[in-house]
């Protein structure tokens, strides 16, 4: 069967009324949290994981994907109207978008962001559908050592290749890897680092760490900044529709943004931010109105927003085909799969095609829903921006603890939540990125398993890791991704990398 047949089957799954409902809940929640400053898609998915124990796998995964896409749409609203991006992939949008809003062109800015996101989401989801089967075929020849090399590459790109310090990125990663070895060893049943505490035998929950660091750590950090005066929300004045000139200036950036964003998201190379910066730079160079850049150029909103959504779809390529998360959100979605006993990867396409293709098809449907939610209903989302901070963060902490209590109502679990929240706060203060902790925690056990398998096959011979051509190439790329930025920073060219920081929340 070809991709089209699978996709049609997927559409049948996705069009079931319950799944449509899950998709709608997902995109609505996703948009809402994307709009709210301070909480991003990773946190929302983590909060909802315990709630979905009762649901069926397809439904909840469709909901998670809807949240991911919705968060990408919603973030642009915040950055255009408030100039505080709700998620880091929207930082570039704030550059031009907020200027447009101040000049009374907030409507067209929101429109070009929403339609650009729609175009990009549609093309990139089709891209996902067509690329995935090829990667699945490629992945079938992967053995343990190739998987291990791939995970090493993901570790390096997530932690040290971007951001302002390789040291702090790697430290975060190793904090995550250390947390990952706590509990019972999967291959031999030995307990490690649990110090006789029964609560630790099952290991540390990814959701607990993610919720603690993203919700509690972030709330503590914001509170500790003291009162810096209220942020000003720009009202949407005039028409939300774009005029002919806006359309003419927007469609090319949409397409360019898509083609920049999708491959970057699909490579194991960190988050959606990188694509948005590249797209912004491209539009700035190609524009016929260079004088408008910095003062509200519509291309500077259209391109990066498209890139942002295209790389969100791209991130699903390694997640679904290889089981390799490259952003914090993808890492938590992987935890969502594992919660149902599913391991994303080439096998999932063979054993559970309805689920995978239903998920991909539901993304197409989610895109249509999001366009409707974000254009006519924009006023509703703008209201969310006016919730006073005390109630907003009180509510965030309520839901943050709700998820943990729902999963395991024990004092110990809440204590861990508090401890990791404090750790997350300290890490924020000292400029340590959070995403590598989450990725290290979830990918650590998988990488260890593959490494030990590879070494068991070779009877302890380490050179076997480098003798397969695919593994060798991947490891060389990983080494380059580690060394090149290190040299760039040492030569004082680090600013570029700081801007590309993959610090997703």
């Amino acid at each position: 069967m070809g991709t089209f047949d699978f996709l049609l089957q997927g559409l049948m799954v996705a069009a079931q009324p319950m799944n449509l409902l899950y998709a709608l809940i997902g995109v609505t929640l996703g948009t809402a949290v994307g709009v709210l400053p301070g909480i991003g898609p990773a946190l929302t998915v983590a909060l909802l994981l315990p709630v979905t124990y009762q649901l069926d796998p397809a439904g909840s995964l469709i909901m998670f994907a809807g949240i991911y896409y919705g968060g990408m749409y919603g973030g642009s609203t915040t950055s255009i109207l408030l100039n505080t991006p709700g998620e880091s992939a929207s930082i570039v949008t704030a550059l031009e978008g907020n200027k447009m809003a101040r000049a009374g062109r907030g409507g067209p800015a929101l429109a070009t962001a929403a339609i650009g996101s729609f175009v990009a989401g549609l093309i990139a989801t089709m891209g996902l559908a067509f690329v995935a089967p090829y990667i699945v075929k490629l992945a079938l020849v992967f053995g343990p050592r190739e998987y291990f090399a791939l995970m090493v590459l993901a570790f390096v790109t997530v932690s040290s290749a971007f951001g302002d310090s390789a040291l702090r990125g790697l430290t975060s990663l190793f904090v995550g890897l250390t947390l990952a070895i706590i509990g019972i060893d999967q291959l031999t049943g030995q307990t490690r680092l649990s110090f006789g505490v029964p609560d630790l035998l099952d290991g540390i929950e990814v959701t607990t760490v993610a919720v603690a660091m993203f919700a509690i750590g972030e709330s503590l950090f914001i509170a500790a900044q003291g009162d810096r005066g209220p942020d000003r929300v720009e009202a949407v004045r005039g028409s939300v529709w774009m005029n002919a000139a806006d359309w003419a200036r927007s469609w090319k950036p949409w397409l360019r943004g898509t083609f920049i964003g999708f491959p970057i998201g699909a490579m194991p190379a960190g988050g959606a931010e990188i694509g948005t910066f590249l797209s912004y730079a491209t539009e700035k160079r190609l524009t016929k109105h260079p004088e408008e850049f910095g003062n509200g150029a519509i291309e500077g909103v259209a391109g990066p927003e498209a890139a942002n959504n295209a790389s969100a779809a791209g991130t699903l390529v390694p997640l679904l085909t290889l089981g390799l998360p490259t952003t914090a959100t993808a890492a938590i979605m992987l935890a969502g799969f594992q919660q149902f006993g599913l391991q994303p990867g080439p096998l999932l396409f063979a054993t559970n095609p309805q689920l995978v293709w239903g998920l991909i098809a539901s993304l197409l449907i989610a895109n249509f829903m999001l366009l409707v939610l974000n254009l006519p209903l924009i006023g509703l989302w703008v209201r969310l921006l006016t919730i006073p901070k005390p109630w907003l963060y009180a509510g965030i902490l309520l839901f943050a603890t709700l998820g943990t209590i729902g999963a395991n109502p024990s004092v110990f679990e809440l204590g861990m939540l508090l401890a990791f929240g404090l750790l997350g706060y300290v890490m924020r203060v000292f400029g340590y990125p959070i995403a590598p902790v989450v990725v290290g925690l979830i990918l650590g056990p998988l990488a260890e398993q593959q490494l030990r398998r590879a070494l068991s096959i070779s009877q302890g011979d380490v050179t076997v890791l480098f003798t397969s051509p695919i593994a060798a190439v991947l490891l060389v790329i990983a080494a380059l991704a580690f060394l090149v930025p290190l040299i760039m920073r040492a030569r004082g060219r680090g600013e570029v990398l700081t801007q590309l920081a993959a610090s997703e929340d």
Binding site: L170, T171, S219, W391, V411
Partner: protein, 163 residues
């Protein structure tokens, strides 16, 4: 920022906070070595066992500790903004209160207190107002999640009054 871009005038002093981080990393590495040393001898055929990866991680942590210490001594760590401890302490207090009260007073009251203390940390001082609001809001959340979505949230006197 890295060395060489700006001449070090005031940045030469060792950064004690960063040195503490380096020490903590080294301690964690030591903890791993100590814990995993129990398992030695269990590495079966091929020398690869449950201890291999923890040892590798511990060695990397020691490397990172040394690297952190070096940056701390050179003063390469970024400047920290001033942190207000007061508001953050209210939130931590709220979380501790919820943790301790949850199983006796139930979800609504414990979480309501967390809600009010968090709002206090962000500047809502009227606790006599925000505590009832928090408890009422938490109760609504409890009804939705515990009754409709079948999530197991601990019940207390307030919840038992109604259900």
């Amino acid at each position: 920022m890295t060395k060489g871009t700006h001449p070090s005038t005031q940045t030469r002093r060792p950064d004690w906070a960063a040195l503490t981080i380096a020490a903590v990393l080294a301690v964690i590495a030591g903890l791993i070595f100590w814990d995993v040393s129990r398992l030695i001898g269990l590495a079966g055929y091929s020398q690869v066992g449950p201890t291999t990866v923890p040892y590798a991680i511990a060695c990397c942590l020691i490397g990172l500790a040394v690297w952190t210490a070096a940056e701390a001594l050179r003063g390469d760590f970024p400047e920290r903004d001033h942190q207000e401890i007061g508001p953050a302490a209210w939130i931590v207090g709220g979380l501790v209160a919820q943790m301790l009260l949850l199983n006796t007073l139930g979800f609504s009251i414990a979480t309501g207190i967390l809600f009010a203390l968090t709002a206090r940390g962000f500047g809502k001082r009227k606790l006599w107002l925000s505590v009832p609001i928090g408890i009422a809001f938490s109760f609504v959340v409890w009804v939705i999640f515990a009754k409709l979505l079948q999530l197991s949230l601990p019940a207390g006197p307030l919840e038992r009054l109604f259900f």
